[in-house]
């Protein structure tokens, strides 16, 4: 149970519900494992809520075909996660301050992947839905740094086309077999992959975070705006 409900009666009903759907998700996981065999590398179930399955990179397309055949026909999204802890700290300028002040840079934190485990810095994540049973699966796949590519889903789930373009643009992960892997958002001459953790937000480095200034002085008495009207 993830929900620490403060309400009195809802708790009981919720927990029974959770057990019921939990079994459903176990069954889904078992069926997917049956179809993919050894390619299922890890899984995580949050009872009554969600299911995560990590599959082998080579089986990424087969996983899509399997889930589709299992009735997960509603395509939600494909994206990726960069598990590298940000080298710049939370405000993007923390590390630079350390360098300027002469302090030793912090030891980079280790990469820790989330649910269903993982081995690489980049993980592609996708969500598909079965609208008949109202259950969804989060599929994850590891993408090694030296070969940032995965088989494309676009011929299985048509909607994956745009999502893969977006993922390619934001993370630099390519999708083999994608018909048209061009930029979705950014101008073609844009440098870098914005959603990678080591992509800095430069505006934060050239000027301090405005939240630091608590109270600004009041504007001066003689109003400039009126002078402009003349």
């Amino acid at each position: 149970m993830i929900r620490l409900s403060s309400a009195d009666t809802t708790e009981a009903t919720e927990s029974t519900e959770a057990v019921a759907t939990d079994e459903a998700r176990e069954a889904v996981l078992a069926e997917l494992t049956g179809r993919l065999g050894d390619s299922v590398l890890g899984s995580h179930i949050r009872p009554g809520d969600d299911l995560w399955v990590r599959v082998d990179r080579a089986a990424w397309r087969r996983a899509a075909e399997a889930t589709r055949a299992m009735g997960f026909t509603f395509f939600d999204y494909v994206s990726a996660i960069d598990w590298l802890p940000s080298p710049f700290g939370r405000d993007m300028d923390a590390q630079e301050d350390l360098v300027v002040s002469g302090a030793a840079p912090k030891e980079p934190a280790p990469i820790v992947q989330g649910y269903a485990g993982g081995e690489t810095r980049f993980q592609v994540i996708a969500h598909v839905y079965n609208i008949a049973t109202a259950t969804g699966i989060h599929l994850k796949a590891d993408v090694p740094d030296d070969d940032l590519s995965l088989p494309s889903w676009s011929s299985v789930y048509a909607g994956a086309n745009w999502h893969e373009r977006e993922t390619r643009e934001m993370f630099g992960i390519t999708f083999d077999g994608h018909p048209n892997l061009i930029n979705m958002y950014l101008p073609t001459d844009f440098q870098g992959f914005p959603l990678r953790k080591d992509f800095p937000l430069l505006a934060r480095r050239v000027r301090p975070w405005p939240g630091i200034v608590d109270v600004e002085p009041m504007p001066g008495g003689a109003d400039d705006a009126e002078g402009d009207d003349q």
Partner: protein, 391 residues
């Protein structure tokens, strides 16, 4: 590289279906028509590059990114309350609805539940933002199809619901009212009675729109049978909201996958579907939805429980480690946030699954073989908000 030609694959079936719409025998040299990024018929800065054969569209490719503001990166350097203020601006017509799934995802990770009164008010405001959003769609769609009057009516009656949102939250359409664990404030005095009046006006507006626009013969001629999307295709593109229901798929996250924290089960309402899947069906379903939303609001207004609007949460919000995906049925369709937290003040990664992105990705498929004026109908009826596509 071309797609693998597997006869059972949905992409091939889809390609075949579109090919039948284009009369390939008469294909001439063709021309390329560029619509946008500044074009009156594309509300927002969407650009469509259409290759034409005569007046028929051979291929249409939307070019997005003119409104890309980098949300998914910006949220990685903002704390949860700051994000809440920012994400109002994704789908700017239904702002409050943007906050809810994110807050619910954070609540899920923290194991917090909002008090019942807050859940009720959340649901009411959620539906009000749906009305504010879709009522503008009805007017705007009329405008795009040449019926300018509808636009004036929509702008007039939309003010009623904006007034109520403003009275409760202080913002006309960027309320920033939702909080982890509840709401910023309780409702002002007399708000419930006023909302009843406003909802009655909105119901009258729906009737008016039905007579003025949806029942109009010219409107029907321009929308019926245009841009038909079969259910199978709609699902594989991830269409959601009214676009999916207009293709006959009876699927509504408010009823079927409602995350805890919203109280749709407390009202008696109906999910409308339409079997046709054309532009008319999408408009019609949205009109009915506006009506249902007003009904939900009216019912919930009568049953708001008393009590606090804020649960006990720490002053400085740190969300425990974990991953959660919460999606709600927003005015435009399914909007979800995949939140990855590392137990910090800021989320580690937030994937924003916005409805319009998926909804508009079907344009190359559905526009193939359509006529240029119908392209306007198709784009208008798919109903996108640029901020929701590009984020």
């Amino acid at each position: 590289m071309t797609a693998v030609s597997d006869p059972s694959s949905i992409a091939d079936l889809a390609a075949e279906a579109t090919d039948t719409r284009v009369n390939l025998d008469f294909e001439s040299e063709g021309m390329t028509l560029n619509m946008g990024p500044q074009h009156p018929a594309t509300h927002g800065t969407l650009r469509i590059v259409a290759k034409l054969d005569g007046e028929q569209v051979i291929s249409a490719e939307p070019i997005c990114g003119y409104m890309h503001r980098g949300y998914e990166k910006l949220v990685e350097v903002r704390t949860y309350p700051q994000i809440n203020a920012l994400i109002n601006r994704i789908d700017w017509l239904g702002s409050f609805a943007n906050e809810v799934p994110f807050i619910l995802a954070a609540e899920k990770l923290m194991g917090v539940e909002a008090p019942p009164r807050a859940q009720w008010i959340r649901t009411i405001l959620f539906e009000m933002s749906r009305i504010a959003n879709i009522s503008l769609f009805l007017g705007d769609f009329g405008l795009q199809l040449g019926g300018m009057t509808a636009g004036f009516y929509a702008f007039r009656d939309r003010e009623h619901v904006l007034n109520m949102i403003e009275a409760a939250t202080g913002g006309r359409f960027h309320p920033n009212f939702d909080r982890i664990g509840g709401l910023k404030d309780d409702l002002p005095k007399g708000w419930i009675a006023d909302s009843h009046v406003a909802m009655d006006k909105l119901l009258a507006f729906c009737d008016e729109m039905e007579d003025l626009l949806v029942g109009n013969e010219i409107f029907q001629t321009r929308t019926r049978g245009i841009g038909v999307i079969p259910a199978e295709i709609a699902l594989s593109y991830g269409l959601s909201g009214a676009n999916l229901r207009a293709s006959g798929v009876d699927w509504d996250l408010r009823r079927d996958g409602c995350p805890p924290g919203l109280v749709y089960d407390q009202a008696d309402w109906k999910v409308w579907t339409h079997p046709d899947g054309d532009c008319f069906a999408r408009t019609w379903v949205r009109l009915q939805e506006t009506r249902e939303a007003a009904k939900i609001v009216k019912q919930l207004l009568d049953t708001i429980p008393a009590g606090p609007v804020m649960a006990k949460v720490p002053r400085i919000i740190k969300v425990p480690e974990g991953e959660a995906y919460v999606a709600t049925e927003n005015p435009l369709g399914e909007m979800g946030y995949y939140v990855v937290s590392k137990g910090d003040l800021v989320p580690f990664r937030v994937k924003i699954r916005s409805a319009s992105f998926n909804n508009i990705s079907i344009v190359p498929w559905v526009a193939r073989g359509a006529y240029v004026p119908d392209l306007i109908s198709i784009l208008g009826s798919l109903y996108f908000i640029l901020g929701d596509i590009d984020r």
